[in-house]
C-alpha cells in the first residue's frame, strides 16, 4: 500500500528487524522453560538454558582417587574415571584447588614418593605408586571438561509416569481434565438456547436482558467466591467437582450468550422465515438450522471456555481443592511446587510445561476460531 506510487519504502528492513526483535522477546521466556525441561538438574544449575545447544566447558566436581588397587609390573595402580558421560572431553586438570587447571590431559604428574598420576582426555585416570596406597590419603583431581549438548526425557518420565513421586502431575492432569470438559460443554448448550431466544424471538424485556448480560460480562468473579461457597455449603454440595462445574458454567455464561447472540443475529433472516413458513417450530429451527450454522461461534466460545477453565486457579482453589489433597489441579500443583521446590528447575519447568502443552496444542490447532471469537467479543 505504501508503494502505491511506485516507491519501495526504505523502512522495509527496519520493519523486518524490529518485528524479529519483538518476536524473539515474546518467544524467549517460553523457549527457556521448554529447553530447561529437557536438561538434567545438574546442567540447569550450572549453565543458562541459552547455552544448552553449545558445547559446555565447565569444572567437573572434584573427585578423590579411589577404587581397587592392582599390582602391575611391580607398581600399584588405581584406575578410574572422572565422569560417566562418554562424550565429554577433559581440557585441563590439577590436583589442588588453587591450581585446578595446572595440567593438560595426558600429562604425567609426579606427586612425590614416586607416585605418578595421569588423566587421559576421555576422563580416565591412572594413579601409579611404588608402594601400596592402601590406607593412605589419596589425591583429589580437579578437572575442566567440555560437554557437548545433551538432552533427556528423564524429567518427563519422573513427573508423569512415576506413581510414587509426590511432585507428580499425572493425578493433577486428570483432575484438571475432569474439571475442564463438563465445564466447557454445559455452558455452551445452555447459552445456545438463551442466545437464540435473545436473537430471534420477540418478547417484552428482551433489550433489558441483553443489557444485563453485557453488564454481567465484566462483574469480577472475586465477588462471587464467598456467597457461592456459603450457598454450596448450605445446599450440601460443599467443595467438589459439581460445585466447580456449576461455578464455571455460571461465570462463562455471559460471554457465551453474548458471543452466540451476536453471531446468530447476523444469520440471514430469509432462511429462518422460510423454515417458519414451511411449518417448522422454533425448536426445530434451532436444532436443524441455527445450531449447525453457528458452528464457528460455538467453536470460538468452546476454545475460550476450555482455555479459561484449564488455566484457572482461583475457582479451583475456592470451590474444589480441599485438605485431602486428592482433588488438586495442575495450576495449584505448580504453585505448591514453586513454594517447596523453588530452586529445582528441572521439576518446575517440566511440570509447568506439561500444564501449558495442552492449551498450546489447542491454540495452534484452532487459532482461527479463537481470533474470530475475540473479534466478535470485543469489536463492537
Amino acid at each position: 500500500m505504501d508503494n502505491v506510487v511506485g516507491k519501495k519504502s526504505g523502512l522495509t528492513w527496519a520493519v523486518h528487524i524490529s518485528m524479529a526483535v519483538l518476536v524473539a522477546l515474546w518467544l524467549f521466556p517460553t523457549l527457556g522453560l521448554f529447553v530447561s525441561s529437557f536438561r538434567t538438574a545438574d546442567q540447569i544449575a550450572t549453565s543458562g538454558w541459552w547455552s544448552a545447544l553449545s558445547t559446555q566447558e565447565r569444572q567437573v566436581p572434584a573427585i578423590r582417587v579411589g577404587g581397587t588397587e592392582l599390582e602391575v609390573d611391580g607398581r600399584f595402580v588405581i584406575e578410574g574415571r572422572l565422569f560417566t558421560a562418554t562424550n565429554a572431553e577433559v581440557s585441563a586438570w590439577g590436583t589442588t584447588s588453587t591450581a585446578p587447571e595446572a595440567n593438560a590431559p595426558g600429562d604425567v604428574v609426579e606427586l612425590g614418593d614416586g607416585v605418578t598420576l595421569t588423566v587421559a582426555p576421555d576422563g580416565a585416570y591412572v594413579l601409579s605408586s611404588p608402594q601400596t596406597t592402601a590406607g593412605a590419603r589419596l589425591p583429589r583431581i580437579f578437572s575442566t571438561a567440555a560437554t557437548p549438548p545433551e538432552f533427556t526425557f528423564q524429567n518427563y518420565r519422573a513427573i508423569l509416569f512415576e506413581p510414587s513421586n509426590t511432585d507428580g502431575m499425572s493425578k493433577a492432569f486428570f483432575n484438571t481434565l475432569t474439571v475442564t470438559i463438563p465445564a466447557t460443554i454445559i455452558p455452551i448448550l445452555v447459552a445456545a438456547f438463551a442466545a437464540y431466544a435473545l436473537a430471534w424471538m420477540d418478547f417484552p424485556g428482551r433489550a433489558l436482558l441483553i443489557a444485563a448480560i453485557v453488564g454481567l460480562l465484566v462483574v469480577p468473579l472475586q465477588l462471587a467466591l464467598i456467597p457461592l461457597l456459603k450457598l454450596h455449603n448450605e445446599i450440601g454440595i460443599g467443595k467438589g467437582y459439581l460445585g466447580t462445574w456449576l461455578a464455571h458454567t455460571g461465570f462463562g455464561l455471559p460471554l457465551a450468550i453474548y458471543l452466540l447472540r451476536n453471531y446468530m443475529v447476523g444469520l440471514p433472516r430469509d432462511i429462518i422465515e422460510c423454515a417458519k413458513v414451511d411449518g417448522a417450530s422454533d425448536f426445530q429451527i434451532f436444532t436443524k438450522i441455527i445450531l449447525p450454522l453457528s458452528f464457528p461461534a460455538l467453536a470460538s466460545f468452546a476454545i475460550f471456555q476450555f482455555l479459561w477453565t484449564w488455566n484457572d486457579l482461583l475457582v479451583s482453589l475456592v470451590f474444589l481443592i480441599d485438605s485431602s489433597g486428592q482433588t488438586t489441579v495442575m495450576t495449584k500443583q505448580i504453585v505448591e511446587l514453586l513454594g517447596t521446590r523453588g530452586g529445582n528447575w528441572e521439576i518446575l519447568a517440566t511440570a509447568a510445561f506439561i500444564s501449558i502443552a495442552v492449551p498450546l496444542l489447542v491454540f495452534f490447532a484452532m487459532q482461527k476460531y479463537l481470533v474470530r471469537g475475540l473479534l466478535a467479543g470485543s469489536v463492537k
Binding site: D2, T30, F193, L216, I226, L231, A349, L370
Partner: protein, 412 residues
Amino acid sequence: MSPALQGLITIIIGVGGCVSYFYFSNLFLDKVLFPPSGPNAGRNINRANMIRPWLFLMPALIALSVYLAYPVVETLRLSLTQRVPGGGYQWVGFDNYTKMFGEPKFWEALKNNMLWLIVVPAMSTAFGLLAAQLSDRIRWGNLAKSLIFMPMAISFVGAAVIWKLVYDTRPVDQEQIGIMNAVWLAFQGGPMSVLFLKIVPILGLLAFAAAVGLVAWVFVRPMIKPSGPVGGGTIPLRLLVGAAALWLIFMSVRSAIGLAGTDLPYGVPQTWLTIPFWNSFFLMIVLVWIQTGFAMVILSAALRGVPEDTIEAAIVDGANPFQIFFKIKVPQIMGTIVVVWTTITIVVLKVFDIVFAMSNGQWETQVLANYMYDKLFRANDWGVGSASAMIIMLLVTPILIWNVYNARKEMR
C-alpha cells in the same frame, strides 16, 4: 467413584438433562398446554409463542442470577456485617470499610493496582499496535503474529513459572541461569552501560512524560481556549485526565532524575522480585507479555478495516509512513483502541494468579485481588474480604456502565 467416571456421568446427565429439558418442555407447551388446534388454535399459538422464549432462557437466567447477580448483592450485605462467634451475622455498618482503610497493606494494594491499571493497558496496547502495524507489512507476518499471540493460551501460573526462570538469581560466584541477571552482569559500568542503563531509560521516561503531556493537552485545551462549545458533562473527565497526567509526568520526571543520580550496583546479581517499587513492574511485564497478543489481534483487524482510499489520498498528498500511521490510521481506529484498553483494564483489575504465584504480595507487590484472597481465606475475615471485593466492583462499575450504554445505543 473415580472423578473421571463421575465427570463422564455428569456430562451425560448434564447434557442429557439440558437437551431433554428443552425438548420436553417444548413438547409439553405445544401438545398439552396450548395445542395449535381445536377451537382456540390462533390464541394458543400466540400464547405458546409468548411463553417459549422464557423456556429457552430459563436455565441461563437461573445460572446467571444465582452465580453472578445474587453474589453481588450478597457480597454487599456481607461487607456490612460481621460474623458473630458461634454462628450468625451482626450488622456493623461501615466498620469493615473503616478497618480496611486503616490498614497500610490495603493502601499498598490500591496504589499498586492503580500503577497496574496505568502501565499494563498502556504497554499492552502500544506493543499490540506496534506488532499489528509491523506484521501487516511483511510476508512472515502471520507467523510472527501467531508467536506473539501464543502467551494468551498460557495460564497465569504457567507464565509465572516462565518468568520466575527469567528473573532467577544465583549467588555471585555461580553462573547465572536467569536471563535477566545474565544480561545485567554483562554490564560492567563502562560507557555502554551508561548508554543502555541510564541514557536510554531516561530518554524513554522523558518521552513517556511528553506523550502523556500531549494527550492531556488535547483533553484540557478546549477548556482554556474554547474554540467551540465545551460539553458541560465532559469537564470533570477533562479535569481528571489533566490531574492524572500531571501526576504521571511528575512521577516519570522524578524517576528520571532519580535514575541519573543513583549508582547502579554493577556486577552484583539482583533478586529482581524483592526490589521495592520496581518489583511491581517486573510482575506487570508478565501480564503485558500475555495481553499484547490480544491487543495485536484486535488492532490488526481494525487496521485492515481502515478504508484504503484515505491512505491513498494521504500518499498522494505526500505523507510519509509515520504520518500515515499516526494521522490517518490511528485516529480511525481510536474506537477499537478504547475497547482494547478497557478490556485489558478489566483483566488487570482481576489479576490474582500472577501475584499469588510469583510474590504472594510480599515485598510491597500486593494487589487488591490478592489482598482480598488473603483476607477471605487466610485471615478468614469475611467482612473485610467482602469490603475489598466491593472496592474491585466499584472500580469496574464505570466500565460496566459504559459497556451497557454502548450496547443499548447499538441496539436502537
